[in-house]
Each structure stands twice: as C-alpha cells, then as structure tokens.
C-alpha cells in the first residue's frame, strides 16, 4: 500500500507542531525544558516555524499565551496560522489550536543555579480546514506527553527530555504513526550578565525523532515512519522581561522507511514577553 501525498502532509504537520510543548523562558528552542512561569505571570509569545522537506514547505505563525497558576504550574494556549506549499499548490489558514500544561514536580536551588524536572501535556484538537490541498488539518485529535530535566547556572545549561506524541485515528481508519522525541541540549552564557543587562545564551541541541509507520484499517502503509536526528544551534537573547529565541534544525542522520522526502531544515524564531 503506497502513501498518498495528501496524507504525507499530515505527517509533516504533525512533525512541525510536535516541536513546541509549552516552551517557557529559558527552555530549549526545539526540545522541552522544565521552566514554568511565576504565579500570576502572563507570557505572550509570537512563534514562527518553518520546515522544508523536498518540494514541501510548511510555515507557521503562532500566538502562544501562557499563564502561571502557581510557581510550578503553567497552562497555555497555542493559536497557529499556517501556510503549506507543495508541487500542486498551496493553502493558508488557521491551524489546529493546542492546549498545554506543564508542572514542575521537582526543583533544587543553590547559589546561582537551579535543577528541576517537569512533566508536560499538550492536546491538539482537530479544527483546521482539511478540505484545502494540501490540507491544514490532520483529521484527528492528538496528544503529547513530555518529561524533562534541566540544570541552569550562571554559565552552563543542560537539558534532557523525552516526549511521546499519540496521534489520533483519522477519517477512513487512518492511523498516523505515533512519534517519540528525544532531546539533549547544552547551553553556555559566555558573559554572565547582571540584572537589567542584555543577556545571551548559546544553545546546541541534539534532537531525535522516531515515527511509527502509518496504518489504514490495521494495514501498514508503505513509505511512512522512520528516524531522523538533528543538530540544532540556537540563541537565547533577553533583556529584562523580553526574549528572542532562534534556532535551526539541521538533519545529521535520516533513516526513513521507503521513499519519503527527508527534512532539509527546520527553523524557529520566537519573540516572548513576560507580563
């Protein structure tokens, strides 16, 4: 059974929207970190992401709102607007919104350093237009569960995270394969800055993704699933309550099943305010 191009879009869509999972403050650009927001705090972020794989291009501009319920628990909403391009044409419109939450269940503070761990959960309902070609929707509600550990100090940062994305069953019994995402990240602040001074942290991420093959009515679909690894340099620049985050995912290893376009690159730019 071959894999129709229209369904392949759904997989690319899933890959792109799998990236952000309640990214708050000093979290990795593509991976997941344990940062949450202070109690009563509001975070407003404009998040742009681009992915290119062969002739396919998917870009997204999302408004992300996060609220700090407690000092360790944040909830949020992600409202994306998408543009998809492929050989036959392009489509524009609102993507699937997402609701997310993150709970930091462990924190250890020392002088100038903090270690912490958190769990995150994200639900992505299916509300986007699936009638356009390529479709903006994915035809099912998906859920993502993540676990993350992070250490940050005045100079060094390190994170590790594991995420599992459970993709719902779409029309005609289509089961897009679930995805497992693994991230290792290091960061360095070359010049420890004072409060109210511009602050720069450089990041280097190793992001691994494993996608199960898709099935329709229990039958495995060819040319789906596989593994990709990315090396992702990134930057985190802040001034008081404003942050700019940017990064590029460069594929370093690809083992996709069958004939699938490999990811050429992914890029992300985020403007973020804490209010």
């Amino acid at each position: 059974m071959t894999f129709p191009a229209a369904f392949r879009h759904a997989f690319l869509l899933a890959a792109l929207s799998a990236v952000p999972t309640c990214a708050v403050a000093h979290d990795p650009i593509f991976g997941l970190g344990p940062h949450v927001l202070y109690k009563g705090g509001v975070e407003i972020a404009l998040d742009t992401a681009v992915e290119r794989a062969g002739p396919e291009r998917d870009s997204e501009l999302a408004l992300e709102l996060t609220y700090g319920l407690t000092g360790d628990w944040a909830i949020g909403l992600d409202l994306p607007y998408r543009n998809r391009r492929d050989v036959p044409g392009s489509s524009d419109g609102f993507g699937d919104p997402a609701l997310f939450t993150k709970y930091r269940f462990w924190r250890h503070d020392t002088l100038g350093a903090q270690s912490s761990a958190a769990i995150a959960f994200k639900v992505i309902p299916d509300t986007a237009d699936s009638d356009q070609s390529p479709p903006l929707g994915k035809g099912a509600t998906d859920a993502l569960l993540g676990l993350t550990y992070g250490y940050e100090s005045r100079r060094w940062y390190r994170w590790a995270s594991l995420r599992y994305r459970r993709n719902g069953t779409g029309p005609n019994g289509l089961e897009r394969g679930d995805r497992l995402l693994l991230d290792f990240v290091v960061g360095i602040r070359p010049r420890p800055s004072g409060y109210l001074e511009p602050d720069t942290v450089w990041l280097l991420e190793l992001n691994g993704e494993h996608a199960q093959a898709a099935k329709r009515n229990g039958q495995r679909i060819a040319d789906t699933g596989g593994r990709e690894w990315f090396l992702s340099p990134g930057l985190f620049w802040t001034l008081r309550n404003f942050a700019i985050k940017a990064g590029v995912q460069i594929p370093v290893h690809s083992n996709l099943d069958g004939d699938q376009p490999e990811t050429d690159y992914r890029a992300r730019l985020i403007l973020e305010w804490h209010l």
Partner: protein, 98 residues
C-alpha cells in the same frame, strides 16, 4: 518675623528625611541563574505597597529591596513570595537607611 520664617523652613527641610525614612532589605535567594527569570521577583515585590525599588544581584544571590519605613516583611511571607516566583528564599537582613 523674617528670621522666624527662615528658621521654620530650615527645620522643615532638616526634618524631611525623618518623615520619609526607608528600610533596606537584603534577601538571600537561591536558584537565581538568569536575569530573565528574575523578572518575576521584581514584579511580585513591586506589587507590594511600600516597595520603592528592587535590585537583583545574580552572582551573590541577593535581592536588595528599598521600602518605606513602615513596611515589614516576615519570613513566611518571603518564603511564599519567592516560592511563587520559582526560587528558594534563605534569609534576610534589614537596616534603616540614613
């Protein structure tokens, strides 16, 4: 009469610092690694009536707060404030500024 007016004005001027006295709190806080994350501390402290300024020394893990003389922080209050901001409060020192 003119001498009396000058004397009264002088006394009022000299008496001004005593009327607008301030306190300096130096709070030891752990977990302060980045300036962006410390913004929550500034926001929470400045929301308290009587707080005049907040400075964060990340390298020493010290938050310096200047307040009106009648503002008194308690240990449980600061523990909760810093917990809500995502950090760990350790101790404080307070002194009256001249």
């Amino acid at each position: 009469m003119r001498s009396l007016v000058i004397l009264a004005a002088l006394l009022l001027t000299l008496g001004q610092p005593a009327l607008a006295g301030t306190l300096e709190y130096r709070m030891r806080v752990d977990g302060l690694a980045c300036p962006y994350c410390a913004y929550g501390i500034e926001k929470k402290l400045k929301a308290i009536d009587g707080v005049e300024s907040v400075e964060v020394d990340l390298d020493r893990g010290v938050v310096r707060v200047i307040t009106r003389e009648d503002l008194r922080f308690t240990e449980p209050q600061l523990e909760k404030l810093f917990q809500d901001a995502g950090f760990t409060y350790r101790s404080m020192e307070v002194q009256t500024l001249p």
